[in-house]
């Protein structure tokens, strides 16, 4: 395939307030190539998650896309009607949300949640969908999936639930996965497992990933390219190695310097002076 899988150009997202529009994203442009992993970093409120929501068309009122365009696989998707967008959502673009503890329906067997997704996007029968669901659970590393498929979310640990959430995002075999801080709610030892699982699975299935996170370490390990966001804009975007070694934007330089290391014994952790301007 030629050309980028996802192409965002001059994306502008506004929230209508009483005092007039509040510009939350301004002139955001980036591309994701097929199979590529793009990391998106930035501090809270920089617009990372908002970018993800805008791409899948789930900006809730009063937020709206005020300008720019989003193309997915060559097709413009920022102005598609909801019914067509639904087919893309979950089907061609999978999403992994932040908190696995709350993003599974507590009263539904995980198998039903998986088959529901598969049936919504693939022309399969119930039995085939169930077989696929079992296969996916196995693939995300859940032991004896044919037994666990009939379990409820509370019977799974946090890490296991995040594996289920990953299976949910991937089971319709999307071309792009948006992972919005997939490890923030997990403890450190599980984080590494989940990240490497996500990396391996998306590579095996040839899916591109937009990985939204605070964690530069995760980005450095996983991403091909990285976009640094600040106050609703992309401050810098480039190859991970290049950007880590030689950050150009002063904010990126600050961000790199703020990563604590064990090698150097610092008295005080570095911090970036000031706060983001109020939007």
């Amino acid at each position: 395939m030629t050309g980028p899988l996802l192409s965002v150009r001059d994306l502008r997202v506004e929230f209508a307030t009483r005092k007039g529009p509040l510009v939350a994203l301004d002139g955001v442009s980036f591309d994701i190539a097929p199979g590529e992993v793009l990391g998106v970093v930035g501090e809270s409120g920089a617009g990372k998650s908002l970018t993800g929501l805008a791409v899948i068309g789930l900006l809730d009122s009063p937020g709206r896309i005020a300008g720019g365009e989003i193309r997915f696989d060559g097709e413009r998707i920022d102005n598609l009607p909801q019914t067509r967008m639904r087919l893309i959502r979950g089907g061609r673009i999978g999403v992994i949300v932040q908190d696995p503890l709350t993003s599974l329906n507590p009263l539904m067997r995980i198998g039903d949640q998986l088959t529901e997704t598969i049936l919504a996007h693939k022309p399969l029968g119930r039995r085939q969908a169930r077989e696929q669901a079992i296969a996916w659970l196995g693939e995300v590393g859940i032991p004896s999936p044919e037994k666990r498929i009939d379990g409820y979310p509370h019977e799974f640990s946090g890490g296991m639930r995040q594996r289920v959430v990953i299976a949910l995002a991937l089971c319709a075999e999307p071309a792009l996965v948006i992972a919005d801080e997939p490890t923030t709610a997990l403890d450190v030892s599980v984080q590494a497992q989940i990240i490497s699982l996500l990396k391996n699975l998306t590579r095996r299935h040839g899916a591109a990933v937009m990985l939204i996170t605070h964690d530069m370490g995760v980005i450095a390990e996983t991403a091909d390219r990285v976009a640094v966001m600040y106050a609703g804009r992309i401050a810098e975007i480039g190859e991970v190695r290049e950007l880590v070694r030689n950050p150009l934007h002063p904010y990126t330089q600050g961000l790199m310097a703020a990563i604590p290391t064990l090698a150097v014994r610092a008295r005080r952790l570095m911090q970036i002076p000031g706060a983001m301007p109020r939007l």
């Binding site: 899948i56 789930l58 999978g94 507590p106 009263l107 997704t117 919504a120 995002a169």
Partner: protein, 318 residues
Amino acid sequence: MSEIATPPNSASEPARTLIGRLKDNDLLASFLSSKVTVAAGIVTVILFLAALLAPWIAPTDPFNPATNYLSDSFDPPSFIASGDPRFLLGTDDQGRDMLSAILYGLRVSLAIGFCSVALGALIGVSLGLVAGYAGGWTDSAIMRIADVQLTFPAILIALLLDGVAHALLNPANRDESAFAVLVLSIGLSFWVQYARTARASTMVEKNRDYVLAARLIGLSHARILFSHILPNVMGPVMVIATINLALAIITEATLSFLGVGLPPTQPSLGTLIRIGQNYLFSGEWWIVTFPSLTLAALVLAVNLLGDWLRDALNPRLK
């Protein structure tokens, strides 16, 4: 040599059998921990069974004129000196066995209670779900109607609906339609509570991440509402339904007592009490007393169960 704790065998799953699940069920444990609740549960089960099995356990058929003799009318209960041993709780003015009449009346009262609760819940929960999920003017429209209805007492609404239905219906089949009219009027007078409860829960649930996740999967709104949100809203609705069952039975009894409910040919407990109170001052106390006691026991037991359910399902009281 130090010992290493062996991890529990992952293959030994917790018991998935029904009995195994019941044993470590919190709900059951909290049920058994309160004597009052257990007593209420036993009374409820006995009354439900009696109602269900009425045609088989009742000594006589109170609706069969061939087996009821007017010569038997106003017989006192059998445990009184002047009582007739055939009639444990005495007979009414038509010579019907009170025990049988109560068993059949219980059956009718419970049937109306269940049907009207189901109707009210169906209407209320559907409207509440839609109102809570859609928000905006849909929400306002539905809830304003509910607010207006709340300004009238439920019994008044039921009376009004009952009166309108009777006026519209052909007097010839009034008696046959009385059941349906009662269910409709009681059900419609109670939907508001369900709507409010369902709406409040929906508004909480719709912001949960699993709903967002369902939207991310690309499910339709109807699907999200009914297969994801509805099950999570049913807990509080069940509590209301239990308490409303008692209320519905009382309302039916009140309507029947006022004479707009069921006719004496298919008496509910309320009808029996209405018939009986005519004879209270002439000394035939048993005709009004036993149906009243049954009604009181039923409503009290169901209410106690409802209270227990409300507390057991309320996470803040744990």
